[in-house]
């Protein structure tokens, strides 16, 4: 089964994303910031990481800087942020994220469609 890591500091959002994605045939893990995400990545190989950018302790861009150099080939990173522009977003795309999505534009069905489409299980 595909493994997805949801990295999001906002607790309600994190739990809701987990709830939504769990209705699908995925194993869903969560992390509340970049540091926890790095820990989880050292113990698991994920097919997809949904990554928020603005987080405490270790933010999205710093996570990518540390994770991407040795990332498994199959891991695809999608930026989920409410930033529509800016240096952080540019940096994240430069570091190897596949695409960026505006959180505020995704409802539950959209989120599922996004993940399933990208993982090729549509």
């Amino acid at each position: 089964m595909r493994k997805i890591l949801v990295v999001e500091d906002e607790p309600v959002l994190r739990e809701t994303y987990e709830l939504i994605l769990s209705t699908q045939p995925f194993t869903v893990h969560t992390a509340e910031n970049g540091e926890v995400a790095l820990e989880k990545c050292s113990q698991n190989e994920y097919d997809m990481i949904l990554l928020d950018l603005m987080m405490p302790i270790v933010n999205g861009v710093d996570f990518l800087k540390r994770f991407m150099p040795d990332a498994p080939d199959q891991t695809r990173v999608i930026i989920m942020s409410n930033l529509s522009a800016g240096a952080e977003l540019d940096a994240a795309m430069q570091l190897g994220a596949i695409q960026s999505v505006l959180k505020a534009s995704l409802g539950p069905k959209d989120l599922i469609a996004l993940v399933r489409y990208d993982l090729g299980t549509m």
């Binding site: 309600v12 994303y17 709830l19 939504i20 409410n82 959180k103 505020a104 409802g107």
Partner: protein, 393 residues
């Protein structure tokens, strides 16, 4: 012989009288001038004559000043620096000297003066004295100083305004990002409820949640609009231009909106000329602008109304016309149409959701492309928006 002598004497007398009259006239000329101090100095700088202008400018009566050294008119600093003598030396050497500086009156007060000292030489070239002409420029200087101060003030105000504008844009961006988070959370939770992840909903519950969802979408829309406008205002929007087929773009936008348009029982048609070339535009932004206008056309038109879209090439400019037969806009409201937060109340506007930012944003985007957007309208008859974009930017 006595006759010729007396004739010579008479001629001499006549010349003498003529000279006297001339002299009197010159004295009158110089003396009467009130605006300029015009007076003579001897070769050492002693004041030899005086006029009304001098009395007015410097305060001394002629009896008080004739025989005194002209350095009395200079400030103490200038006297200590030997400026009076230096000026005479230069005038003597070069012929004249002009200076603008402070001078001192009889009562000790200062005035800003323009001073010209001219060396006077007799026919043999000997220095016989100096002519001094002084003009009081205090008023002019004061005006210049005030202008300079006003200028600096204006520049400071301008900088402050720029700073405030930047501040405002930053604040709007920050607030909008912050507002997106709770709006996103609400969106997810409402979506989860409606999708049945929790218990099955009653019809009433479903209706309530749908209304909440609609409101939440509106929140998100407004926040997005605010952010887009703030970015535009801050000059942060960078267009990424590619050659685009505008006919296809407009056609795609119409297709996307056709469901809603048909639900309103409206018809939409597109007439595109064959010779419209590709244009260099930022497809993302330009598309949003077109969507906005067509969306407006539909929203502000009654059911069964018609929307006509045309695209043609006129003298190197692609002209897109969007015409509806809807509620129209009153002439008085047209001026403020493209302003921020402007929403014109009309019979349909209560049912229309919007932030009032759309047309402001649309115009800015079109203008960034080097184009224009204009509007013509008649209340109750309809409205035409015309977007023109040059093929060559």
């Amino acid at each position: 012989m006595i006759l010729s002598l007396s004739k010579s004497l008479t001629t001499l007398q006549q010349s003498h009288n003529k000279a006297l009259v001339e002299l009197e006239n010159y004295k009158l000329l110089v003396d009467s001038i009130e605006d300029y101090a015009i007076f003579l100095l001897d070769p050492n700088g002693i004041v030899m004559s005086w006029n009304k202008g001098a009395e007015r400018n410097k305060g001394y009566k002629s009896s008080e000043i004739i025989g005194k050294h002209f350095s009395i008119f200079y400030t103490q600093q200038d006297v200590d620096a030997q400026k009076p003598q230096k000026e005479l030396e230069i005038a003597q050497r070069i012929g004249r000297i002009e200076d603008e500086d402070w001078r001192v009156r009889k009562n000790g007060s200062r005035f800003w003066a323009n001073v010209i000292i001219t060396a006077l030489r007799n026919p043999s070239g000997e220095l016989v004295g100096f002519a001094k002409v002084t003009r009081n420029l205090t008023d002019r200087k004061r005006q210049e100083d005030e202008l300079r101060k006003a200028n600096m003030q204006l520049r400071k105000q301008q900088q402050e305004l720029q700073r405030l504008n930047d501040s405002k844009n930053e604040f709007i961006s920050l607030a909008s990002h912050q507002l997106r988070t709770p709006a996103t959370i609400t969106k997810q939770l409402l979506g989860v409820l409606l999708a049945g992840y929790s218990d099955k909903l009653t019809p009433a519950q479903t209706t309530f949640i749908q209304k909440a969802q609609s409101s939440n979408e509106r929140q998100i829309f407004i926040v997005n609009s605010l952010l887009e406008v703030a970015q535009l205002d801050a000059g942060k929007v960078v267009l990424h231009k590619t050659m685009a087929d505008l006919k296809k773009m407009v056609s795609d936008v119409i297709d996307e909106q056709s469901e809603i348009i048909h639900r309103r029982k409206q018809t939409v048609s597109l007439r595109a000329a064959a010779n419209v070339p590709k244009v260099a535009i930022d497809t993302k932004y330009f598309r949003m602008a077109i969507e906005n206008i067509i969306d407006n056309a539909s929203k502000y038109t009654h059911e069964s109304g018609t929307i006509k879209v045309s695209i043609k090439l006129v003298a190197g400019v692609v002209v897109i016309g969007i015409t509806d037969n809807g509620v129209g806009i009153a002439a008085a409201d047209i001026d403020s149409l493209f302003k921020k937060f402007n929403r014109i109340p009309n019979e349909l506007s209560e049912h229309v959701s919007g932030s009032g930012l759309g047309l402001y944003w649309v115009r800015k985007v079109i203008e960034l492309h080097g184009g224009t957007i204009t509007v013509k309208s008649r209340p109750h008859r309809g409205t035409t928006f015309t977007i023109s974009v040059p093929v060559e930017s």
